[in-house]
């Protein structure tokens, strides 16, 4: 590109800005857009930081209460259980994603995998069904509308007021004109993204990686560029301002309002999921075969009993040097967890394939693409939630088995069997509180930046494809501009 051409482009862009600054509509649209973005960034940042703080505190409290429990029968502590909380990712100040839609705490106890409880949405006002004041929503849905409102007439206006022929005959090529208008729109995009970029950089302070921050801003930049290109395309292709506007408004309705919901509905319809309650029946049926770990006399444990007697070379369980009831509890827990995990994995896989279907709509709507990209890069997508579930389960299994180990090694079988005889026997069938130190700290952190980048690759490609196609289309039109 010659320097002469570049300066022409800049002149066109400057001229477009001059037009905007004189137009009441453009000025007010930009002011409202900026105000919305700014306030959304501030409100969501404060909210998510409060949430993060509160959940960290709850997590610490839960650990302290567990360790502070008095002397008890170890199996009581298995049922006493523990809580874990999902602390939000640093970048979730810009896109809370599914945070409000999934429960954010799980009660961990023996023999059960509980679901996450207390999704914020359930205690909400139901007013934010159409949209919420998060930067993600504002930029994904409303910013394109803003670009349409200020840009729909960028080329068609010149044509309608018959300045286009004049400009073209003066030696400005169609492409130069469109590039100039595009540059002006790009500067508006920069303006919209500035508050987001500042907040994203602040999240570096909370340990977010620079790659994720960069990818996040780049993703939104690409997305809004798609819209700038769409605006330029319709404005150049259609001969009248009103046609360009109607077409763009209609495209916005389809891509930003209709498509995301069509995507999720299609996904839910094409990959039906059974739901936890229903798989629970299958789990129960499977578990019945395993035997109840509370009942050491269950015939399901006969084999284990025989092998133990053989191993220690004794004739009865009373003679074993270890607590037989603890062994049963431990072995039953392991088998049960195996079954539970199998079903939990299945359920997560179904959810993933549903999500996968809905994400394919990103090829049809850049809004779906950026929505996916944003949640994946931030780490507020379903994948991160699944990892939370898995880590919580790992912790559950670990502390339950550690308590079972205490049961096996530190509580005699005789005391254990007599525990309900009288108050003194109940006292005797206890172990010291120092054993509760078995609990590991739980600290949920967002996935590694590299992994998040890999996941979001397809969404980046979707946006890039849109850009390439639109650039080709606009170049073709730009050559024939009259």
């Amino acid at each position: 590109m010659s320097p002469n051409n570049l300066s022409k482009i800049i002149i066109v862009a400057k001229d477009e800005w001059r037009y905007w600054l004189r137009s009441k509509l453009a000025i007010s649209v930009m002011a409202i857009g900026l105000l919305l973005t700014l306030s959304s960034v501030i409100v969501t940042s404060i909210n998510m930081m409060e949430l993060s703080h509160a959940r960290h505190e709850l997590q610490d409290n839960a650990e302290e209460t567990f360790i502070d429990q008095p002397d008890r029968h170890p199996h009581r502590m298995v049922h006493y259980g523990h809580y874990v909380f999902r602390t939000p990712a640093p970048l979730s100040i810009l896109d809370p994603g599914i945070d409000a839609y999934t429960g954010n705490s799980i009660f961990l106890e023996g023999h059960r995998q509980n679901s996450a409880m207390f999704a914020d949405q359930k205690q909400g006002t139901a007013l934010t069904q159409l949209g919420s004041l998060t930067p993600a929503f504002i930029v994904q849905t409303l910013a394109p509308l803003l670009l349409i409102l200020i840009g729909y007439s960028s080329v068609s206006r010149e044509r309608e007021s018959q300045t286009l022929t004049y400009l073209l005959s003066q030696g400005t090529s169609g492409n130069t004109l469109i590039l100039g208008k595009g540059l002006a729109l790009l500067s508006v995009i920069g303006l919209i993204l500035a508050p987001l970029a500042v907040a994203a950089l602040i999240s570096l302070h909370d340990g977010e990686s620079i790659t994720a921050v960069f990818a996040f801003i780049l993703g939104y930049g690409l997305y809004l560029s798609v819209w700038a290109l769409l605006v330029l395309f319709f404005s150049s292709a259609l001969s009248k301002n009103s046609e360009s506007f109607t077409a763009l408004a209609f495209v916005w309705i389809l891509l930003c309002v209709v498509m995301p919901r069509v995507a999720s509905t299609t996904a839910a319809t094409s990959v039906p999921s059974a739901g936890k309650l229903e798989t629970d029946f299958a789990v129960i049926a499977e578990l019945r075969k395993l035997g109840d770990g509370h009942n050491a006399a269950d015939p399901a444990f006969d084999k284990l009993k025989a092998s133990l007697l053989e191993k220690y070379n004794v004739d009865s369980i009373e003679q074993l040097p270890i607590n037989y009831r603890g062994v049963i509890a431990s072995s039953a827990e392991a088998e049960l967890t195996h079954v539970l995990n199998e079903f939990a994995e299945q359920r997560m896989q179904t959810e993933l394939s549903q999500t996968h279907v809905s994400r394919q709509f990103g090829w049809l709507s850049p809004m779906v693409a950026i929505r996916t990209l944003s949640m994946l890069v931030v780490g507020t997508s379903i994948e991160t939630h699944h990892r939370f579930l898995r880590e919580a389960e790992a912790l559950r299994f670990e502390f339950v088995q550690a308590l079972n180990k205490v049961h096996v090694e530190k509580l005699s079988y005789e005391d254990d069997m007599n525990r309900n005889k009288d108050a003194a026997a109940t006292q005797k069938a206890r172990v010291g509180a120092e054993n509760w130190q078995v609990l590991e700290d739980f600290n949920f952190e967002v996935d590694k930046a590299k992994q998040r980048m890999q996941r979001s690759l397809a969404a980046f490609l979707q946006l890039l494809l849109w850009i390439v196609l639109l650039v080709v289309a606009i170049r073709t039109i730009g050559k024939r501009l009259i």
């Binding site: 509509l25 599914i98 705490s105 139901a126 936890k276």
Partner: protein, 434 residues
């Protein structure tokens, strides 16, 4: 009359020649059909799920009751399915059924540890929202009306025909009225025909269909008048549309979001986590405190068992279930405050939605379809009522060693029967009050 039809006929033929209006109407019809079909599919899936769950639930409970023989173990191992079946209008207004649970399995243990479990679907899909008929109507149709009506005058002005048309037309109604009527009726049909089809398929009662039609027409007329009025004296069509879309953004996003922020600041709700924590501490402490303390707290609420609380061993089921109940009692004030806060928020949201027609319509229609938060609150209350009946059923067997045999098990409360009697009571109350 004949003249009137001539006008309509002319405008009908005029509309058929405007390609973008036809595209708009076709898309409207397609989107509305998609929303109705996917709604029908969702509801039929929910119904099938319930059928399967009911069958599995009965089998499972019978197996548990066969395996165990003492009342305590039977109560411990029998689960009970509770559910809120979708109404026959639910296909059009899926409402909040993807956020609030509509199925639970509970047993006689402390309810506080069970009722907050949720069996909700994929969170990422819930976050994107579903496209149901109510969404198409409340959020989408205003935009379609804006696109159809904003240039009613402006398009004729810019093409220079406006003054000619006005002077040659017999009355302004004959021209603009006929044109507007044709566009309005076409849009209305494209939106509503799929809905009527869905209503016919799912056997929606007539009064609901009439109510939905009534509200839809009122809502669409509101937006039509607004669009026509807004564009009355402006010659630039995009300017009219920008203003109208601005109003839509205000109604659909800005007012609700501001309302949400205000309400969340106004209403303080206890943390959900605190309820379960309180309940857990109370339940688990029972193992470490004197049995009398638990039993005294229990008979404070259920004095009828005060002569039967003496314990012979360190573990008895009656004490076990007593401390479960005491756990719930301890957490009851918190739990009540939590529910009250949710109710309060819903009420205040009602006031906020008076300023936002799209939300008002959603509220009205999801209430009609029984798929809103109120329906979810009612369902939760039903679970609580059922849990209470279940406890009252078991207490005699636990406290007085009555035999719990097959004849007695047959009289065990069932959730379905409970909801049916509640419904019947409600209906008879309405009858007597009329």
């Amino acid at each position: 009359m004949n003249y009137f039809f001539q006008q309509l006929n002319r405008e009908w033929r005029f509309m058929l020649r405007q390609k973008y209006i036809l595209i708009l109407l076709t898309c409207t019809f397609l989107i509305s059909s998609f929303s109705v079909l996917s709604g029908l599919n969702e509801i039929s899936q929910q119904q099938q799920t319930l059928e399967r769950l009911k069958a599995a639930d009965t089998v499972d409970r019978e197996a548990a009751q066969k395996k165990h023989h003492d009342p305590g173990s039977i109560a411990y191992y029998s689960f009970h399915l509770t559910s809120a079946a979708p109404s026959n209008l639910a296909f059009a207004a899926l409402g909040e059924r993807d956020i609030y649970p509509w199925k639970h399995r509970i047993k006689m243990l402390a309810l506080g540890g069970q009722i907050y479990e949720s069996d909700t679907q994929n969170a990422e899909l819930a976050q994107a929202g579903k496209i149901d008929f109510v969404f198409v109507l409340s959020a989408l149709s205003p935009l379609l009306i804006i696109l159809l009506f904003h240039d009613l005058y402006a398009s004729e002005r810019t093409s220079g025909r406006h003054d000619l048309l006005v002077t040659t037309a017999k009355s302004s109604w004959a021209l603009w009225g006929a044109r507007g009527a044709i566009r309005f009726i076409s849009l209305l049909l494209c939106l509503m025909v799929p809905f009527y089809f869905g209503a016919w398929l799912s056997g929606t009662n007539l009064s609901n269909v009439v109510m939905v039609s009534f509200w839809s027409v009122i809502y669409l007329i509101f937006w039509t008048i607004l669009s026509v009025y807004w564009g009355k004296n402006v010659s630039s069509a995009p300017r009219v549309a920008s203003g109208l879309i601005g109003i839509w953004v205000l109604f659909a996003f800005i007012i609700p979001i501001l309302g949400d922020l205000t309400i969340n600041k106004l209403v303080h709700s206890p943390e959900g986590g605190d309820i379960v924590l309180t309940q857990r501490e109370a339940v688990n402490d029972a193992w470490d405190i004197p049995k009398e303390t638990t039993m005294n707290a229990f008979i404070a609420s259920y004095p009828e068992w005060k002569d039967h609380v003496a314990m012979e061993s360190e573990f008895e089921w009656k004490w076990y279930y007593a401390f479960q109940q005491v756990g719930d009692q301890t957490a009851a004030p918190l739990s009540q405050a939590y529910r009250d806060a949710a109710q309060k928020k819903y009420q205040l949201a009602g006031i906020a939605s008076l300023l936002s027609p799209p939300l008002l319509l959603q509220r009205v229609l999801t209430r009609l379809a029984d798929t809103d938060a109120v329906a979810a609150f009612q369902y939760e209350q039903q679970i609580r009522d059922f849990h209470k009946r279940l406890r009252l059923f078991y207490y005699p067997f636990l406290f007085t060693q009555q035999k719990l045999g097959e004849t007695q098990l047959a009289t065990m409360p069932s959730f379905e029967k409970l909801t049916q009697t509640q419904k019947a009571e409600l209906n008879s109350n309405i009858d007597t009050s009329q």
